[in-house]
Symmetry: C2
């Protein structure tokens, strides 16, 4: 159940503390993994309860003679977002995306269903945001969903510039565990 | 996207209003379907944003030469609950179960992971409950999760009696659309 490495404190590991600059947080781990590890840390520490929604799969054929082995199925597009949960009594909902680009974050991987979903989250009093990683700079930002919604609905340009993300979003501090201190930014922006 | 039947009002259907006693709500539809239709209604009416989490599937083999066809996969147990979302600014989380039994609701389909999950929901200020259907009586109850958690953790008896559910829970009114007016009970118990 505990999915992050434990026993890394100097006490139990006889001083073998991993320096931050060499930790795995800086070795290009993928964003989903970083968030999952951070979420598990937040859950185990009793800080928040945020989970990844499973990828929806359209199951076509199941062989029940072999312990319900799925023999034919297809991935479906997520019509909501990847993550949601509860933090300090509030409903939290977000999508996480990486880009290799240096000047902008493209909307190509965001669906209009997700935009509609995030608008509804805001309408019902929830907290909605994006976590956006610019891989080239090893920078990860938390950006309130309203900025992406506005840019998405304006049409025309199908992306948001790196500079806008830098200006309107907040840089998330990296660590060993959690990998991303993203709730620090949530505290700052929403509480 | 709209998954419930529409245009059933007398005005658009020339008086062909479906009497409640003959409507599909009373013809033994399954609970999951009833909740999904109710949730879609609540979403479309802007009342709440509650979704079913997809069933987690462990994908073993994918054939990418055939448009990402999944050729080998297995269903995984849900470690959280089936439904969550936001309503009137609050985080909502629940599990829905049916039983054919007449005297009790057995815990056989509830995992200890789900109990842990629901305790966390409550701890973080969310609303946690069960929707329990007794198929024999065509009755569906909303029961605050704390009752199930307490009974589950007491050990011994691996069920909760029908009488307890009747006493501690609230009967959910049925309709055509939504099939289950379960948010009426949420209003009553939590707001």
């Amino acid at each position: 159940m505990i999915k992050y490495p434990t026993g890394q404190s100097p006490k139990t590991n006889k001083g073998a503390k991993v320096p931050r600059s060499l930790s795995s947080a800086n070795r290009g781990m993928n964003l989903e993994e970083d968030i999952n590890i951070s979420n598990q840390y937040y859950i185990d520490k009793g800080i928040a309860l945020i989970n990844k929604r499973p990828t929806p799969i359209n199951v076509v054929k199941v062989d029940y003679s072999r312990g319900a082995k799925i023999q034919n199925a297809y991935f479906e597009k997520q019509s909501t977002t990847d993550y949601n949960g509860v933090y300090r009594g509030k409903y939290l909902d977000f999508e996480a995306k990486s880009t290799k680009l240096r000047t902008s974050f493209p909307f190509s991987n965001i669906t209009s269903h997700q935009i509609v979903h995030l608008k509804r989250v805001i309408k019902h009093g929830g907290i909605a945001f994006f976590i956006i990683r610019f891989e080239a700079f090893e920078e990860t930002y938390l950006l309130d969903a309203s900025f992406i919604i506005a840019a998405f609905e304006k049409g025309g340009r199908k992306s948001i510039t790196y500079d806008s993300v830098k200006t309107d979003g907040r840089l998330i501090n990296k660590g060993f565990i959690p990998r991303l201190f993203y709730l620090d930014i949530v505290d700052l922006l929403y509480f």
